[in-house]
């Protein structure tokens, strides 16, 4: 230990890039048992420590191979409190910044590693019934990996009529695998299969009764045979209770809520809940707990015992196919209301909500859930688009005293997994904001760029996004989202703000979170403000098709963590980059904006690129031309941004970035955001014609 301490103390402070976390080994552990954790990634040799939600100490161990210290680090993990079965975050923090988050799972059963996944093992060792790995005991958790398009096959022994649960923890545990479990007999005949369990989103679980005594084969594969970076899975097998449903899907912060989990009910204690979501489990169940939403409005549950008073969150369930739940809502004539569904996003409901508001006369006032969708240019193809839980804004008719809200499934499905939470509140306009950057390392003396997406709800004016309580030594630029003219055809309403965070060269070390709020003035001068939620983590999911992308799948995010923007001060950048607007020139159909960028390097030999990447969100008809470095001074250059008559005359934010190689590593440098005005393009003067001249006479 002393050697290690000495080693750590002699590290130069913040010499390289921030750590990157690629892999954890193992991906899980049995609760209460100390274990050795290996983290793998890049730039791990700069005094990394583990930041985790797991109540444990993480004691660094000396590297087996010092020459690999930048790629591997080992820690001894010891509990400091009782571990609950569940998923925990692991992040690396170092003097030079923060890493991304990976997830680690605590289970109740003994854990083993798939033979093929042991270090140094050959691939494809258990890809068939003939080569199946025998699991000789139960209950058990197998930590396995799917390296590319492969199958893993395990041999298990079962007695006649014996029941056993086979479950895969993958997506829930931070893996990009979309797992499938199959139970086969010795001839390869499929006896059972699970792909997407209704309560586990894309994870799989099945309860199997062995028809006769003998050996059976459990096959695990990815649903698309894709190749993933996070390619692990945890096969949990045994006979144990687990939540088979959740109702209601959430409860109110500060309260204790009785919740049915299928096999019984539990009390959800939300008195100390802080985030937007928590997890519930059957007492002593070794299954992973299920998500449970935490709201801030008063809650009711169907059937309603009293008239609705706003704001409120209604907890309902379409218990059988074809069921439509209807609620009577007292309204003020002419007032605006918002209905917000929360269901699918929790992963515990399959409902595709269709919400209809009708007047007392039965006439439809508003509807959401089956209308045309806004244009989504990011969708690979039409059929790969997605929709989340819907919201609906409506204005009560002038003379209305009440309206009827109907909740149904688009395909008229129903059952135990068709619960929903419907929040109803009176609000004329609203903003919803998400920090789409999962974490940020701000270089001392440099700048990092953060994006915040703001969803407009019946508000088209300008929006300002600002950081909350910036630490000393860090300044922010940008954050402007211009007003717009609503497009009745393309009803996309999510807009992006860019905010550059710049740290002073002597900024104090900082590891913490930065919050953001989106603000606007409503149509009647009232303040609209919302606090942005953070992603928590962002783990990508690759497509299975190498030639011609067909599908991506949703990236894994951890909004349930309730994070804002985790941030740290990192090592100084190899250069700083600044941007300035030099000139605005009016043209016949728009304007030309001449921007100049400049690199400043402490090291005169630092090479810089001849061009920069431009980030100019929300600028209609954006076009950049004539980008070139100055011939006499390659560290500076210019480009032109052009506008058209379609470009709204208002304030815009722009930033530029470039990748520089320094010390053998590519590093991104970013300029602070500058704001500039696009003036209105004057209407062309009408040229006199013979006819007009005659008319004037």
């Amino acid at each position: 230990v002393r050697t290690l301490l000495l080693f750590l103390c002699t590290l130069p402070l913040a010499a390289g890039p921030a750590p990157v976390l690629n892999e954890l080994q193992p991906r899980g552990a049995q609760k209460g048992r100390p274990f050795e954790l290996t983290v793998m990634g890049n730039y791990l040799d700069e005094g990394v420590r583990i930041v985790s939600t797991l109540p444990a100490t993480f004691t660094p161990l000396a590297p087996d191979k010092p020459e690999m210290a930048a790629r591997y680090a080992k820690f001894l993990v010891e509990p400091t409190a009782e571990w609950e079965v569940g998923v925990y975050t692991v992040r690396l923090a170092a003097p030079n910044g923060l890493s991304n988050i990976l997830l680690f799972t605590v289970g109740a059963f003994a854990e083993i590693t798939e033979d093929e996944s042991r270090p140094g093992s050959l691939p494809n060792q258990n890809d068939s019934i003939e080569k199946a790995q025998t699991l000789s005991s139960t209950p058990l958790i197998v930590n396995g990996t799917l390296k590319g398009p492969e199958r893993d096959v395990y041999r298990v022994y079962g007695k006649a009529t014996e029941k056993r649960v086979f479950e895969i923890e993958a997506r829930r545990a931070g893996s990009s695998i979309d797992p499938v479990i199959r139970i086969l007999d010795a001839n390869g005949k499929q006896l059972a299969r699970s792909e997407d369990d209704p309560l586990l989103a894309l994870d799989a679980r099945l309860e199997f009764t062995f028809p006769r005594e003998g050996y059976y084969y459990v096959e695990i594969h990815d649903a698309r045979f894709s190749t993933q970076g996070q390619n692990f899975y945890r096969l949990k097998t045994g006979f144990y209770p687990y939540a088979s449903e959740v109702f209601p899907l959430g409860g109110r912060r500060g309260e204790v809520v009785e919740v049915s989990l299928g096999a019984g009910s539990v009390k959800a204690d939300l008195r100390n809940a802080t985030g937007p979501q928590t997890f519930l489990n059957i007492a002593d169940s070794p299954a992973l707990p299920v998500p449970f939403a935490v709201g801030d409005y008063p809650e009711v549950r169907e059937p309603l015992a009293a008239p609705l008073t706003l704001p409120v969150t209604i907890n309902g369930r379409l218990a059988k196919p074809g069921e439509i739940d209807r609620y009577e809502l007292p309204v003020e004539g002419g007032a605006k209301y918002i209905l917000q569904v929360q269901a699918r996003e929790l992963g515990t409901s399959k409902i595709a909500s269709l919400i209809t508001v009708t007047g007392e006369d039965g006439k439809q006032i508003a509807r959401v859930g089956d209308g045309p969708l806004p244009v989504d240019v990011a969708a690979v193809q039409v059929s790969s688009r997605t929709v989340g839980d819907p919201y609906l804004q409506f204005e009560a008719p002038k003379d209305a005293k009440k309206v009827i809200i109907a909740v149904e499934d688009l395909a008229l499905r129903g059952g135990p997994h068709f619960g929903y939470r419907l929040s109803v509140y009176k609000k004329p306009q609203e903003l919803r904001a998400t920090i789409s950057t999962p974490f940020v390392n701000i270089p001392a003396g440099g700048t990092a760029l953060v994006s915040v997406n703001v969803e407009r709800r019946d508000y088209a004016g300008p929006i300002r996004v600002e950081p909350i309580d910036l630490p000393e030594g860090i300044t922010a630029t940008g954050g402007d989202i211009p007003y717009e003219i609503p497009d009745p055809i393309n009803r996309a309403n999510s807009r992006r703000a860019i905010i550059a965070l710049t740290a002073a060269p002597n900024a104090k070390p900082f590891h913490g979170e930065i919050g953001f709020r989106a603000m606007a003035k409503g149509d009647h001068g009232e303040s609209i403000e919302t606090r942005a939620t953070g992603l928590g983590y962002l783990i990508g999911v690759a497509g299975a098709t190498t030639q011609g992308v067909v599908d991506r799948q949703r990236a894994l995010t951890g909004t349930w963590l309730g994070h804002q923007l985790p941030a740290a001060i990192s090592t100084p950048p190899p250069a700083t980059l600044t941007l300035a607007l030099e000139k605005t020139t009016q043209k016949a159909e728009g304007y030309e904006f001449l921007f100049r960028w400049r690199f400043d390097t402490a090291d005169a030999s630092q090479a810089v690129p001849d061009n920069v990447s431009i980030d100019l969100p929300n600028f209609i008809d954006f076009r950049a031309i004539e980008m070139a470095a100055d011939k006499k001074d390659r560290k500076t250059g210019t480009f032109l941004v052009t506008s058209t008559r379609n470009t709204l005359p208002t304030l815009y934010n722009i930033s530029v970035s470039a990748n520089l190689r320094s010390g053998g590593v590519m590093q991104e440098v970013v300029s602070p955001v500058i704001a500039f005005n696009a003036p209105a393009v004057p209407e062309p003067e009408e040229k006199p014609t013979n006819a007009s001249a005659a008319a004037n006479r």
Binding site: S383, R385, T386, L410, R413
Partner: protein
């Protein structure tokens, strides 16, 4: 004076019998070619004048004649100066040339019609209700003979008229039976069907031209089941002697390929040949075993994946795997065919949770979904009827939209997960509109069912369609699948093409098709039973070698027809014969061609070269069985074969390392490729070749040669 004469002439003509557009004029326009595709029946008409194609819409044509050009096509005072007469007789310039002479009966009829005030007629009286065609069948004892066809139209008012001159008579096989103005001449031995059509009514006449060779005596062979009885009855009638059953090795190869898509292994062949059980017994046992094998499920999953267009282009990656798994599970469980189809047609909800819902994701809209549904499950091609009444069938444009209306309420909306879509029934504004006048077209079945199925007025119409479509009384449903499955075992359907069932494309053996259909229905739409019945018939097990009486037969199932292996069969056969595994990207290493999820995997490679369909249409024709020079070059020089024969873990390498004798190696290579033991001459030649130098290289050469021969490339 001339005016007086003309008036007198007009009076004379006008005094003729009453003439109506429906009964008299429309047939002339059709016969004269005015309504044909290249003329005014073209989609945009011709020279500003549009008629419906082949006159399918008499009302439309009548109104076009009357009201276009402000009615200037008629001169009622002087009918002879009407454009409608002046143009076709070329009294004024006519792009379509001379259609009839001024002194013709057609001219007089139209003249009288104009003179009588261009009456439309009464559909309740003037519409054709039936065609009476004589003779009902034409049998010619030898080529070179002729026969005449007479066509009589029966009208709604009970009157009849000889319309032989106006009716259209066409042959589906002109090189067997040629037609010229209702005169039929027998060109060569064979069978043909004449399609007679007149004013939207159709009739067919089968033509058989027999082999004039003397000395035919039908030698009855063993009949294994009702299939053989039906086939023999037809063969006897058309003087064809069927071939006897093929030997055991040929049977095993054929049955294995047809039922499982895979070649039998050398061990399978040896065991089967050595089985002392009576031939029919051991063959029946083998058929059962093949149907119960996992390879059966893989093979038929490919077929159904083709028909249902399971591809990531339409369904995404997870959707394709999910749909394939649904198909697999359905086939593995031998789900009754009517249930399988019902599940597809009524599917809803998430395409991830209910993969059958992917059925609607490939075609996405009502009209193509209806076209796919009728083509795949009824064998009826409705696509022509979208723009006009079907030219060779009774299907009308109205029926097209009535059938499409069953799917007009099917909606698709993205789900929460990428690639997931929700299939649902649209609640409002879901009616099908007719393109002609935007009127709402209510759903209606293509033909009335003997067991009436009520059609609800709600968006949920698909259930009624499924009831009607999968009914045992539906005259198309069971017949279409029976015919389709039959074609997979014989290379061609009893009706061929299998997805083009129409009056003008009659079955080669109606009794056989009816018997198979009845048996299929009687056995609960059991696909495995159907295949088992077919595979156990003597007809299926017949030798491909012909005799003097059936050498020209290609339509009556008197002998097996050699068929080039399908793309997946061929690739898997190469791999199996060479003892190598195909190595496809993006799937596990041990995946066979028949186990691939969709045409994306291995795209533009060996499989596509040999005709694997892209699954962009539901037509059986998308899978190609052609032969081409690039295929030959690929087999000779391509990587697939060369890598397979030289596979380090392959059959040749294993045999050499195991120290097998030359004779044993030759025998095994023949078993692995031709699925039979080598003849004595083949064995001796093979042994001699192996003994002539580097043994391993020569064994690879021999394997390469066998893989490039017809004995390997064909099923026979």
């Amino acid at each position: 004076m001339r005016l007086l004469l003309l008036t007198a002439s007009a009076l004379t003509l006008a005094a003729a019998d009453p003439v109506t557009y429906l009964r008299d004029v429309a047939p002339i326009l059709n016969k004269a070619g005015c309504t044909s595709g290249p003329c005014h029946g073209a989609a945009k008409g011709k020279n500003g004048f549009k008629l419906s194609l082949r006159g399918y819409d008499a009302q439309f044509d009548y109104e076009a004649l009357l009201y276009d050009l402000s009615g200037r096509r008629f001169n009622r005072a002087e009918p002879g100066r009407s454009l409608v007469l002046a143009k076709p007789t070329q009294q004024v310039a006519h792009g379509g040339g001379l259609r009839f002479e001024k002194d013709s009966e057609y001219y007089k009829t139209i003249y009288n019609w104009i003179a009588q005030g261009v009456p439309y007629g009464d559909p309740a009286k003037d519409a054709v209700t039936q065609l009476e065609v004589t003779p009902a069948a034409i049998d010619m004892p030898k080529p070179g003979q002729t026969a005449s066809v007479k066509v009589v139209a029966r009208y709604a008012d009970g009157k009849t008229r000889d319309v032989t001159r106006e009716a259209t008579v066409e042959s589906n096989t002109p090189d067997v039976a040629k037609v010229d103005a209702a005169k039929v001449s027998g060109e060569r031995i064979g069978e043909a069907t004449l399609l007679v059509r007149y004013e939207g009514k159709f009739s067919t006449i089968p033509v058989t031209i027999l082999n004039p060779k003397p000395g035919f005596v039908f030698r009855a062979l063993a009949q294994h089941n009702f299939i053989d009885a039906a086939i023999d009855a037809k063969l006897q009638k058309v003087k064809i002697q069927p071939s006897p059953a093929a030997d055991d090795a040929a049977f095993l190869r054929r049955a294995s390929l047809d039922l499982t898509g895979q070649l039998p292994t050398p061990e399978d062949i040896r065991a089967f040949l050595a089985d002392p059980a009576p031939q029919r017994v051991k063959r029946a046992r083998k058929i059962d075993k093949l149907i119960a094998s996992p390879a059966y499920v893989d093979h038929w999953t490919v077929k159904w994946g083709d028909l249902l267009q399971s591809t990531r282009k339409f369904l995404g990656e997870k959707g394709t795997y999910g749909f394939r798994e649904w198909i697999r599970a359905s086939l593995a469980a031998n789900k009754p065919y009517d249930k399988l189809v019902r599940e597809l047609l009524t599917a809803g909800g998430s395409s991830y949770d209910n993969p059958a819902a992917n059925y609607f994701r490939t075609t996405r809209e009502a009209k193509p979904t209806m076209e796919k549904t009728t083509q795949v499950f009824l064998g009826v091609r409705m696509v022509c009827a979208q723009c006009h009444d079907h030219p060779f069938e009774k299907w009308t444009q109205n029926q097209y939209f009535q059938m499409a209306a069953f799917f007009s309420a099917v909606g698709l909306r993205p789900g929460y997960e990428i690639g997931e879509e929700i299939v649902y029934d649209i609640r409002a504004e879901y009616d099908m509109k007719h393109p002609k006048d935007s009127r709402v077209v209510p759903p209606q079945f293509l033909i009335a069912s003997t067991a009436p199925v009520p059609i609800p007025s709600t968006p949920r119409r698909r259930d009624a369609l499924a009831d009607w479509l999968t009914s045992a009384q539906n005259p198309f449903f069971a017949k279409a699948i029976v015919n389709r499955v039959w074609s997979y075992f014989f290379g061609y359907g009893i009706i061929d093409p299998v997805d083009d069932i129409r009056a003008s494309n009659p079955p080669a053996n109606p009794a056989l098709l009816d018997a198979l259909t009845k048996d299929f229905i009687d056995h609960g739409f059991d696909l495995q039973h159907l295949m088992r019945t077919i595979a156990n018939s003597r007809a299926y097990q017949a030798d491909f070698r012909t005799n003097e009486w059936n050498e020209k037969d290609a339509t009556n199932f008197s002998h097996a027809l050699p068929r080039r292996l399908a793309a997946e069969q061929l690739m898997d056969a190469v791999a199996q014969a060479a003892g190598a595994r195909p190595n496809f990207p993006e799937v596990p290493d041990d995946t066979l061609a028949s186990q691939l999820p969709d045409p994306h995997v291995g795209k533009d490679g060996f499989l596509d070269l040999f005709g694997r369909p892209n699954r962009e249409s539901a037509c059986e024709c998308e899978r190609r069985a052609d032969l081409s020079l690039p295929q030959a070059l690929n087999l000779i020089n391509g990587k697939t074969i060369s890598d397979a024969v030289a596979d380090p873990k392959g059959r040749v390498a294993k045999m050499v390392l195991a120290g097998k004798t030359d004779a044993a190696m030759v025998e095994e290579l023949y078993l692995a490729t031709f699925s039979r033991l080598p003849t004595k001459a083949e064995s001796e030649a093979g042994v001699k070749y192996l003994g002539g130098g580097a043994r391993a290289a020569r064994a690879q050469d021999l394997l390469w040669a066998l893989l490039n021969s017809k004995g390997f490339l064909y099923s026979y």
